[in-house]
């Protein structure tokens, strides 16, 4: 359950930038290849924010698919999971994106 550690990292990286201000919304980008499960993260977020300036904040999670390029046929395609397989049958694939795990923005009062 690394999502608790992730939720705690979200809280500390937001607090570092918002200080004492009350935070009402936290927006995250959690790529499909990041290894983080949004529902598990939501569950842990409430726990991790309790007693902080983020307590009660809404959590908005963007969960984009990854992108990859096939080294055999040079096609670019979408990746829904970590299995690297191009339509052409090649598994020799470069991952371009999908590992993102970031706080994109917050709403502060």
């Amino acid at each position: 359950m690394h999502e608790l550690a992730i939720a705690e990292s979200v809280v500390s990286s937001v607090l570092e930038r918002t200080g004492e201000q009350h935070v009402c919304v936290v927006r995250l980008r959690v790529g499909r290849l990041s290894g983080v499960v949004p529902d598990a993260l939501r569950f842990c977020f409430e726990l991790a924010t309790s007693g902080t300036a983020l307590e009660g904040a809404a959590l908005e999670i963007e969960h984009p698919a990854g992108r990859a390029r096939c080294r055999a046929c040079e096609r670019e395609f979408e990746l829904a999971d970590a299995i690297l397989l191009c339509e052409c049958g090649s598994a020799d694939v470069t991952v371009l994106s999908g590992h993102d795990l970031r706080v994109t923005s917050v709403e502060v009062a």
Partner: protein, 257 residues
């Protein structure tokens, strides 16, 4: 509630660039101005952060990496399920090594593994994570201070037995090794892709048990490469020593000349 537009105080949002509306964030699109005879007590604004969630861990990991490099210490992060044979592999590695070896042992509880490593003749520090399911860079930083690995040594970080969580946390290691034993089944790369995607080397351990289990080595190799085309693979038995020379050579290639 605002009598003119019906917005509730709790949902007030004043959103900076790109939002021309007065910022209630509701889509009823009225154009007229209305004079509020009250203040919105929860006037909020957006802060664009674009900050990596694990930035703090990655920063500490980079510091660990520099600290280790300055001392010519080659650090390997060993990850696997519980019971894959990591500690047995380390016992044999320590016995055969002509360089000093240090080990950071990660487990939720007990000093069992650190005691085994010390008995095998290496420096060891145990990190007990309690409820934690992985080591992070801060834990390794503390352990490095206590362990004080010798310059020119090989440092193994035996992560908490878990094929999921440790994959996400950079510790400052030079290489990441996933150990998988043949008793666990050959379907693990597809079931735990993030771990195999993060690996530089996959060690297939307990090959002495291959005659007794349904484990298709070719399938595991093919699936690991479907997840991670550049991953290296080795087969060995830490118990009998079969294939162990390949592991020693792999480590030797990482050592400063």
């Amino acid at each position: 509630m605002c009598a003119t537009c019906g917005c509730g105080e709790g949902e007030v949002r004043v959103t900076a660039p790109g939002d021309q509306h007065h910022g209630h964030g509701h889509g009823h699109g009225h154009e007229q101005e209305h004079d509020h005879d009250h203040d919105h007590p929860l006037r909020t604004h957006t802060l664009e952060l674009e900050v990596a969630v694990l930035a703090r861990n990655d920063e500490l990991a980079a510091r660990n990496r520099a600290w280790l490099a300055a001392r010519d210490v080659v650090a390997l992060n060993l990850m696997s399920s519980p019971g894959s044979g990591k500690t047995t592999l380390l016992e044999r590695t320590i016995a055969a090594s002509d360089r000093p070896v240090g080990v950071i042992e990660g487990d939720q509880e007990t000093l069992f593994d650190a005691e085994r490593i010390r008995a095998a003749g290496a420096r060891a520090i145990q990190v007990n994570t309690g409820a934690g399911c992985h080591l992070d860079a801060a834990m390794v930083q503390r352990a490095l201070t206590d362990l004080a690995p010798e310059p020119g040594s090989v440092l193994f970080v035996e992560n908490v037995g878990n094929l999921v969580c440790p994959a996400l946390f950079d510790l400052g290691e030079l290489r990441r090794v996933v150990v998988i034993s043949v008793t666990e089944g050959d379907d693990k790369p597809l079931k735990y892709p993030h771990m195999f995607a993060a690996a530089d080397l996959v060690v297939i351990n307990k090959t002495d048990l291959l005659p007794y289990v349904d484990f298709d080595t070719a399938r595991l190799r093919a699936d690991a490469r479907r997840i991670n085309p550049d991953v290296e693979l080795l087969e060995l038995s830490a118990r009998t020593g079969d294939g162990f020379a390949g592991w020693q050579q792999w480590i030797a290639a990482l050592l400063p000349q």
